[in-house]
């Protein structure tokens, strides 16, 4: 039995929670004011400025709580909501970490919105909901009883739905909003059932009571399945991910960044809170399910992303892949915890949570860049872009940093969380169960495969959209965006670099979270010489991001100096060589579809049933040859289409109930009454 070191520090009273609740309240007030004054020109500056300040204050309070006070818990109960329950709010280590993530993303999106909001065509549809969306996400993380949790969760879903529907003139957006609403309601239903099962027949909705209660293994299994469906659908686990690539691109760009970078993390928070904190001791077969789902999600997400040529949809599918990676880390933590290996569980959980932070940083950065491209050119389709590195130098530099970070290349932050996950996988031969012995190496190879495919995906995204020659006039005449958007992008790019060079402080910041959830922590990283990180022991493995960065910079600098000093530094410009046949038309360069073609041939024939058909006109005919690529979304065909057909069928049948005579309705009532009386009579 592992002793859980919860509540190690004395409770801090209510002050930190109150501070953050005041920020939430100010966000709500800003939203209300935007309803009234939203149509005024330039009002977006007020709204985004207010949300920027509120989020920054919340960020600093949560960060201070995590680092300075070691994640001591503080609670507050407000007399809102159900009269006998009230609304409980609690700020502990896990909540503090996720508040940092949420408010960092919120602050950056507000900063971006200060510049981007100028181009918004329907500000009265966006401005009221934006601060309220941020408020909802903060409330979900702070909630300490089931009612507040579910209410805030629904609040978050509805406000984001309203933001998705901001440009409702587009048919695609309407469809995206509809599917999003259906999936969100389905997810909330699953969470409702899960929390209801946990609360039990006594109706003990407070999280304190749920933590203290004993749950039978059957209930635990059922609750786990329900939260995988509920939180997993919001996060984007396959097969419940279908709404994500439709809804995330439909919203305005800073909202897309929030939905992809932050809202999915709130869903991960929901899973961690209920799965790790409230459920108590995990079982090993639960970890197998989480690992399997994580692995499949990671590979499928990136394969879908590779086949896209809409920039925002590519980024949304890529979020699915990263959620898969996070769930792989969480599954490993569950497996280690179930077998009593607390130090390894701490390593896996730190890796997963570090990836939560990293992903929110670089995915938001990439969405900001895509928004900048959309503002500058009006195009989201990569096949209409190209050569933007010349026209939008700052945006392309920030986007490049995001691409390098998300491809897990050193010395940026994506590599650190991936390295930690691999180290956790290398500890797992010590797990005794046979199922895990087969599952973990399989999931490890899926993780490695998804990392390599992610790099391919972002070579494609950056190469087709920003490099090469402009394919349309819109791309040729693009201008770089305003200073607020650029500031938000460069802030996150700098944070990516810092988190990659100084991962030790981040890992130490996460140790209160692992201590609270698992009762164990990783070794202290701040004291390691030269700023390395040592996850287990010096002799096993270590990594030093700062020194790698310094070495690369020094080697490159040395090479540049030596060559420019002792060899030539002359440059001549000329037309491209292209083996002697340069073609002036930009149509001859590689498009997104052609770049993905080798990978589509290798993986796509199996996963997407991709088939290519070439129509070659006979010799002498001057028509162009045509290539058709036919791909199917197997998840949609196997799962969703039959379900939709079945629901339609059932609804048609049940429609007959609308057209009965009065006598028939009376006999239905009579039948129901008699049945209930019979049940009462026969109940033992």
């Amino acid at each position: 039995m592992v002793i859980r070191h919860r509540e190690r520090h004395e409770s801090m009273g209510a002050m930190p929670v109150a501070a953050i609740l005041w920020c939430v309240a100010s966000l709500l007030v800003a939203g209300v004011f935007s309803v009234v004054l939203g149509r005024r020109a330039g009002f977006h500056r007020v709204t985004y400025g207010a949300s920027l300040t509120a989020c920054s204050v919340a960020l600093f309070s949560a960060g201070a709580d995590l680092t300075l006070y070691g994640g001591a818990a503080s609670t507050l109960t407000l007399p809102l909501g159900l009269p006998w329950l009230g609304a409980h709010f609690r700020l502990d280590a896990l909540a503090a970490f996720f508040l940092v993530v949420v408010n960092l993303g919120g602050a950056a999106a507000s900063l971006y919105g200060l510049g981007y909001g100028r181009h918004e065509s329907a500000p009265h549809r966006v401005l009221p909901f934006f601060p309220v969306f941020l408020a909802g996400m903060n409330l979900v993380v702070l909630a300490d009883d089931a009612f507040t949790f579910l209410l805030s969760w629904e609040f978050m879903s509805l406000t984001s739905w309203a933001l998705v529907m901001a440009h409702h003139q587009d048919r695609d957006n309407v469809r995206a909003g509809y599917i999003y609403l259906v999936m969100a309601s389905f997810g909330t239903l699953a969470l409702l059932l899960a929390l209801g099962l946990l609360a039990g027949p006594g109706g003990a909705y407070g999280f304190e009571a749920i933590r203290a209660a004993d749950h039978t293994p059957g209930i635990v299994a059922l609750v786990l399945a329900l939260i995988l469906i509920g939180a997993g659908s919001k996060a984007g686990l396959v097969p419940l991910h279908v709404w994500l690539p439709l809804a995330h691109p439909a919203a305005p760009s800073h909202v897309s960044a929030l939905m992809s970078g932050v809202m999915t993390k709130v869903a991960v928070y929901g899973f961690v809170r209920i799965g790790f904190d409230l459920l108590g001791e995990p079982t090993w077969w639960a970890s197998m399910i989480v690992l399997a789902l994580g692995g499949i999600t990671a590979v499928l997400g990136v394969l879908y992303a590779l086949m896209q040529h809409d920039l925002k949809r590519l980024l949304a599918y890529h979020t699915v892949e990263n959620i898969g990676i996070i769930f792989i880390g969480l599954g490993l933590a569950l497996a280690f915890q179930a077998n009593g290996m607390g130090w390894a569980a701490a390593l896996a959980l730190t890796a997963a949570l570090f990836h939560v932070l990293n992903h929110s940083l670089f995915k938001s950065l990439l969405f900001f860049g895509a928004g900048a491209v959309l503002t500058a050119t009006g195009e989201r389709d990569m096949e209409h872009l190209g050569g933007l590195i010349h026209r939008m130098p700052y945006t392309s530099f920030a986007f490049l940093v995001g691409c390098v970070a998300i491809s897990a290349l050193p010395p940026l932050n994506g590599f650190v969380s991936e390295w930690l996950t691999f180290q956790a996988i290398l500890q797992s031969p010590q797990l005794p169960q046979w199922g895990l012995k087969i599952m973990v190496p399989a999931v490890g190879s899926l993780l490695a495969l998804s990392a390599a495919l992610a790099a391919a995906c972002f070579v494609k995204a950056f190469g087709v959209a920003f490099l090469g020659r402009a394919r349309t006039a819109a791309a040729d005449q693009a201008q770089d965006v305003d200073c607020f958007s650029l500031a938000a992008m460069f802030l996150f790019a700098a944070l990516c670099l810092i988190a990659g060079i100084l991962p030790g402080p981040v890992m130490d910041g996460l140790s209160p979270v692992t201590l609270a959830l698992l009762g164990d922590r990783m070794p202290v990283q701040m004291g390691v010489p030269w700023l390395s990180i040592v996850p287990i022991a010096e002799s096993r493995s270590s990594y030093n991001g700062a020194l790698v960065f310094v070495f690369i910079a020094m080697s490159a600098g040395l090479a540049v100096y030596v060559i420019h000093r002792f060899a030539s530094h002359a440059v001549r410009r000329a037309p491209a060589w292209d083996c002697g046949f340069p073609d002036p038309s930009p149509v001859t360069q590689y498009t997104a579809g052609s770049f993905a073609q080798p990978i589509r041939r290798v993986f796509g024939t199996l996963v997407f049933r991709a088939r290519e058909q070439v129509e070659m006109p006979p010799p002498g005919d001057a028509r162009p040859a045509r290539l058709h690529v036919d791909m199917k979304d197997l998840v949609w065909d196997i799962l969703y289409a039959p379900v939709a057909t079945a629901i339609g069928f059932a609804a048609d049948r049940l429609n007959h109930l609308q057209f009965l005579t009065i006598r028939r309705y009376l006999s239905l009532v009579f039948l129901a009454l008699v049945t209930l009386l019979l049940v009462l009579a026969l109940w033992p």
């Binding site: 087969i438 024939t605 199996l606």
Partner: protein, 220 residues
């Protein structure tokens, strides 16, 4: 020294699994025959090493039979048959090579799990060799199931038989008379298959099994 002896036995058994994978990877018929000769050679080496460890001289005869018949005679004769029948030398597979390899890995994992769990109390050297032998048998079966060409199915059948020989020698007990009878029955089966291949080729102009299906007659 002891562990080195075990390690070499494991290495040879693992090498046999590796060569089975190489058999699955080939897409040309002559290369397949050469790899099968290698398969039989590795089997002969493995059996000879077992004879050395267990001090069982009759196993040397088994190794010699494997070497002479399966590594030399059978590939040469099959080579001649293919040339005379003019069989086209590309192997068509039912599913792609990648998917076949993934299925092969799954089968190896399955046989490792089954063998190592079931024989938890037995001699450690024999357990792992048995696990490898079961893998070779399953991979041979996989090859028979996923190939359309009759010659490659015959090769699959013979690699399956190699796996059985490995299992029998690993389990410390295989009298010579069994081996001789097995070898002769293989030889006879192979001659029969060869004759059939000739007749099929004469009649239908192809040895693709799909073509044979068409002539099977209506289902009643």
């Amino acid at each position: 020294m002891d562990s080195l002896v075990f390690d070499i036995a494991h290495l040879l058994a693992g090498g046999l699994v590796l060569v089975s994978f190489m058999l699955l990877y080939q897409d040309r018929l002559y290369a397949l025959l050469n790899i099968f000769a290698l398969h039989a050679l590795v089997l002969a080496l493995s059996v000879a090493w077992q004879a050395f460890i267990q001090n069982a001289p009759h196993l040397y005869v088994t190794a010699a039979i494997a070497l002479v018949f399966k590594a030399i005679i059978i590939p040469v004769v099959l080579h001649r048959i293919i040339q005379r029948l003019g069989i086209h030398r590309e192997i068509e597979t039912v599913v792609g090579i990648g998917l076949t390899m993934i299925a092969g890995i799954g089968l190896v994992a399955l046989s490792m799990v089954v063998m190592l769990r079931v024989t938890a109390a037995a001699d450690p050297l024999a357990r792992e060799d048995l696990a490898f032998a079961l893998s070779v048998v399953l991979l041979g079966l996989l090859m028979m199931v996923t190939r359309r060409n009759a010659v490659s199915q015959v090769i699959g059948f013979m690699s399956l038989e190699n796996g059985l020989v490995l299992a029998a020698t690993g389990a410390k007990g295989m009298p010579l008379v069994v081996e001789i009878s097995v070898a002769f029955s293989i030889l006879i089966a192979f001659i029969v298959i060869g004759i059939f291949l000739f007749r099929i080729r004469e009649r239908f102009d192809t040895v693709d099994i799909h073509a044979l299906d068409r002539f099977r007659g209506e289902r009643r």
